[in-house]
């Protein structure tokens, strides 16, 4: 948690291997990402990381189910099998009936649920969420947070970045605060939700 520009998203991107540090090294689950080439990082993300963005980043030309299935298809999973798994995830997230709808028609909350489903598609060890409620109204934001907390309670490791202290204290078990690119504090929390 930290104010805008403190480096939260940069840190998240470096953990995902989307960005490289100008100095120092990034180790995730014992792997030094600085020693891995771009293809290796892509495979690392594919197998170990799921990402959720503030602005969803769905492909406009594909319906929800195909957006979700895409992550599996990139690994070579056959289309039918990928779609079946995508439908299961959409069902678990409560939007199975919106699977054939294009992103432009979905509400903000629904779009973020599709994004969550896509992030979970390859059963990642680590789910990274960058301001997942930042572009949502308060009601949709609450619903998405509930969803992420449920996932966490089911055993999914979640690293969430936010500037919203209320949100952070509500869902986090471990809170790291940042300012001007540095970690300024770290504490363990009792979840309030």
């Amino acid at each position: 948690m930290g104010p805008s520009g403190c480096g939260k998203s940069t840190l998240l991107n470096m953990i995902a291997g989307l960005d490289r540090p100008s100095a120092g090294s990034v180790c995730v689950d014992g792997e030094d990402l600085g020693r891995i080439n771009e293809t290796g990082l892509a495979l690392f993300r594919r197998r170990r990381i799921g990402m959720i963005f503030q602005f969803f980043n769905l492909i406009d030309d594909l319906p929800a189910i195909d957006n979700v299935a895409l992550a599996a298809q990139l690994t070579g999973t056959p289309a039918r099998q990928a779609r079946r798994r995508a439908l299961e995830l959409l069902d678990e997230l409560g939007i199975a009936d919106r699977g054939n709808v294009y992103p432009a028609v979905l509400s903000g909350g629904e779009r973020q649920r599709v994004a969550v489903a896509r992030a979970l598609m390859n059963r990642p060890a680590l789910l990274l969420a960058d301001e997942p409620t930042g572009a949502l109204d308060s009601q949709a934001g609450e619903q998405v947070m509930d969803l992420l907390i449920d996932l966490n309670e089911l055993g999914q490791t979640l690293l969430l970045v936010t500037h919203d202290e209320r949100l952070a204290t509500r869902c986090a078990s471990q809170l790291v605060t940042m300012a001007d690119g540095r970690i300024t504090g770290e504490r363990t929390l009792e979840r309030t939700a």
Partner: protein, 781 residues
């Protein structure tokens, strides 16, 4: 206005890649345009061009030196209607000895018209002194010969050779020149001509009105009106010369015109594709400018300036580079091509440069204006959304279908990408389509021309012609008679077959001009494989001739007609075949047909086919050793017209392919820019750089495939339009086997050429997109 300029300058700086792409595309297109226009310029009315460049003489008048003085002739220069004149130039006729002519390619023994001239320039008939120097001193002579490879230097060049005249000091060849007006066969200095006993004066005139033969006759009559009666011996109109030149087979002209037109189309299309793409991708920026308070007109002005600055720079640099590249390229293409005695000088007219330098930025302006005016009408909010969201339509449905196709997902995603921008995809398909059409056209054209060249030059057939020596030409007489010579040559090592060939002069009753009949005895395998229609002669009384012969004599295959020899013997012959190339006053028959007309006919040459792998020098020595009176020559296998077409086809195909690939390059750059958020997301969920590259390349390869499938029939159609024009222009008929140039394997390769062009243009920007850091993109809306 300063706000517009400032915003334009900022846009140019901020969009360095797009600015560079516009500049490079316009540069390459301008370069191609200069070459294409230069090509059209050079091949359009080549005689008129060359004649104009050389200030050719509209009339070459020859006067009797015994009846008129130089002063009297000098006064005709100021006669009515005379724009410019040269002369009087003293003219003499000398006898070119066989000993000298045999050492100089292109020269024949016999009378040689020599003119005394101080220099090759002047107001009329500027000569092209392409080798050596002008004859300024005593004993020097410049010969009129076409500029052909090896003529100006090398062992067979006439330069340095001597012409010995009886009772005169020898003349040394010091230079070679060509004259578009054909005013002389050689030139010497004005002082030297006095030693050659001139009998006539030559006057060269350029008149104001020369459109018709009547005008020229009236002009000529006017200038000679005040001269002594009978002093004008002869005069030659340039219209006569032009008609003779026009009758020569200019097979390459229609082909090159087609290439020039294709080049124009491709260049304009690519520029349109690039510029409209840049403006459309800038809609978002247009919306932002409007929201800042720019008026619609100011916004349009910003975009036009932004696009026109790099376009103008690209056009200027491209035009300059075009001038540098086109001149040697066209020189290479037209090397050895000549019209009559004048060599085609591929000089590009200044209009081609001006058209490119001004026309290309104007085209860019007009093309940019269309989407810019659309942006003019859009509200700020709609402009912003139009810039960020690709078009809808059938795209999503097709994308959905592609999702289920059993191909790697990066491939199916790539195939669906162009559907987001159908207009741009269409322009990309069009540029690839023209690229493939060009490749198809060039492939067919080259195959036909190679086949034509091989057939007319008898490639793989007679490698050598052996001539019987003649004492009147200072040669050794052969020891063997005609039949024995053929037998002797057949018996030499490495000789596979020998045909004896002789001629007889005959007439066709009712026709004023005589014709030559060529008789071939034995050695059928040495004959060139140049039958266009019908069949070869099989029995006495059957002849074959060229299309030009058929046209001139108004004959058709199957027609029978009578030939009459000088002594009155007659033979009825039937025309059974048309051959590809040959003079208009010549036909070929078997030996018995010739001897029926001229019983004493003897072969004067022998066509020799050598065994595979035979060494020509060894064979030549064997011929000389067998009979010193036999002179062997190596047959050339180069057809300059075919070489012109083939080399230009390759050069232009390469250039147009490059331009088409540049269009694809631009499309991928724009697509990667617009899709950077999608690319970032795909990378974030594990798409590897290789998969990104594959996706982007496939997105263009799919369009390339469509362009290839559509471009193939277009190229074939262009070929079938141009071939009949060529046949008509050159008065020849290509046999079906020469037109059967495309086969399923080749057609598949040509369609794949579309994919290759697209992939070639896409691979660099695709790799750049694959390597791009995308973290920041994912955080913005």
């Amino acid at each position: 206005m300063s706000a517009v300029w400032r915003a334009s300058r900022a846009a140019v700086r901020r969009r360095r890649l797009q600015t560079s792409v516009i500049g490079v595309v316009v540069l390459v297109s301008s370069l191609a345009l200069v070459v294409a226009l230069g090509l059209l310029d050079v091949v359009s009315g080549p005689f008129d061009r060359i004649f104009g460049q050389a200030h050719g003489a509209h009339v070459v008048a020859t006067f009797d030196a015994a009846k008129v003085t130089g002063e009297e002739l000098g006064r005709t220069a100021h006669g009515p209607g005379v724009r410019a004149s040269a002369g009087p130039l003293a003219q003499a006729v000398i006898e070119m000895p066989e000993s000298a002519a045999s050492q100089m390619p292109g020269m024949a023994p016999g009378p040689l018209t020599v003119v005394g001239r101080a220099d090759p320039g002047g107001d009329v008939d500027r000569l092209d002194l392409f080798a050596g120097h002008w004859a300024t001193g005593p004993g020097q002579i410049v010969l009129a010969l076409p500029d052909a490879p090896g003529m100006g230097n090398g062992p067979h060049s006439p330069i340095g050779k001597r012409i010995r005249l009886s009772g005169q000091r020898p003349l040394t060849v010091v230079g070679l020149a060509s004259s578009v007006s054909g005013t002389a066969q050689a030139w010497v200095s004005p002082r030297q001509i006095t030693y050659l006993h001139p009998t006539a004066y030559q006057m060269l005139y350029r008149f104001d009105h020369v459109a018709t033969a009547r005008q020229i006759s009236e002009d000529t009559a006017a200038v000679s009106a005040g001269l002594p009666s009978g002093s004008l011996i002869a005069h030659q109109s340039y219209l006569t010369l032009k008609a003779q030149v026009a009758a020569n087979p200019n097979t390459f002209v229609p082909f090159l015109m087609a290439f020039g037109i294709l080049g124009l189309l491709v260049a304009v299309l690519i520029v349109g594709n690039v510029v409209s793409g840049v403006v459309v991708s800038g809609f978002r920026h247009i919306g932002v400018l409007k929201s800042l308070g720019f008026t619609p007109n100011q916004v349009v002005a910003v975009y036009l300036v932004m696009v026109c600055v790099p376009a103008t720079a690209g056009a200027l640099v491209g035009t300059a580079l075009g001038g540098v590249v086109a001149r040697p390229l066209l020189h290479q293409v037209f090397q050895g091509t000549n019209l009559g005695t004048a060599t085609v000088d591929p000089t590009i007219g200044s209009w081609a440069y001006a058209t490119t330098a001004l026309g290309m930025p104007l085209t860019v302006l007009l093309v940019a204006l269309i989407p810019a005016l659309r942006a003019h009408r859009l509200s700020a909010a709609r402009a912003i959304s139009a810039g960020s969201a690709p078009h809808r339509g059938r795209g999503p449905a097709v994308q959905r279908w592609l999702t289920g196709v059993r191909l790697p997902r990066s491939v199916t995603l790539g195939l669906g990408l162009p559907l987001a921008r159908p207009g741009r995809a269409l322009l990309t398909v069009a540029s690839v389509l023209l690229g493939v059409a060009t490749v198809t056209f060039a492939t067919g054209l080259s195959a036909t021309m190679v086949s034509y060249s091989d057939a007319t030059q008898g490639v793989g057939k007679a490698k050598s012609t052996v001539w019987r020596g003649q004492t009147r030409f200072d040669q050794t007489a052969p020891h063997h008679d005609d039949a024995a010579t053929q037998k002797l040559l057949r018996g030499l090592p490495h000789v596979a077959d020998v045909a004896a060939v002789g001629f007889a002069d005959v007439r066709i009753p009712g026709r004023s001009e005589g014709v030559a009949i060529e008789g071939v005895r034995g050695g059928r395998s040495t004959l060139p494989d140049d039958l266009a229609r019908g069949r070869w002669m099989r029995r006495p009384g059957e002849v074959v001739a060229s299309g030009r012969f058929l046209a001139k004599q108004a004959l058709r295959l199957g027609d029978s007609f009578t030939l009459t020899a000088a002594d009155g013997r007659q033979e009825r012959v039937t025309l059974v075949g048309e051959i590809l190339a040959g003079p208009e006053d010549w036909m070929r028959a078997d030996w018995s047909t010739v001897t029926a007309l001229a019983p004493d006919a003897q072969a004067n040459q022998y066509w020799v086919r050598l065994a595979r792998g035979a060494d020509f020098n060894t064979y030549t020595k064997a011929v000389q050793a067998a009979d010193p009176g036999l002179y062997s020559t190596k047959n050339t296998t180069v057809n300059t017209d075919a070489a012109t077409v083939i080399s230009s086809a390759y050069a232009l195909t390469l250039m147009l392919t490059l331009v088409a690939a540049t269009g694809v390059f631009n499309t991928v750059v724009l697509s990667a820019r617009e899709r950077r958020r999608d690319l970032g997301m795909l990378k974030s969920i594990g798409m590897t750089p290789r998969q990104v590259t594959v996706m982007m390349v496939v997105s263009m390869a799919g369009l390339g495939l469509v362009g290839g499938i559509l471009g193939l029939p277009l190229g074939v159609a262009a070929y079938h339009v141009v071939i009949p024009i060529t046949e008509h222009a050159a008065q020849l008929t290509f046999p079906d086997r020469m037109l059967d140039v495309w086969h399923p394997g080749l057609m598949t390769l040509l369609v794949l050429a579309g994919v290759a062009i697209a992939a070639l243009g896409a691979v660099i920007p695709a790799r750049a997109a694959a390597r791009r850091t995308i973290a920041r993109v994912l955080r913005t809306e």
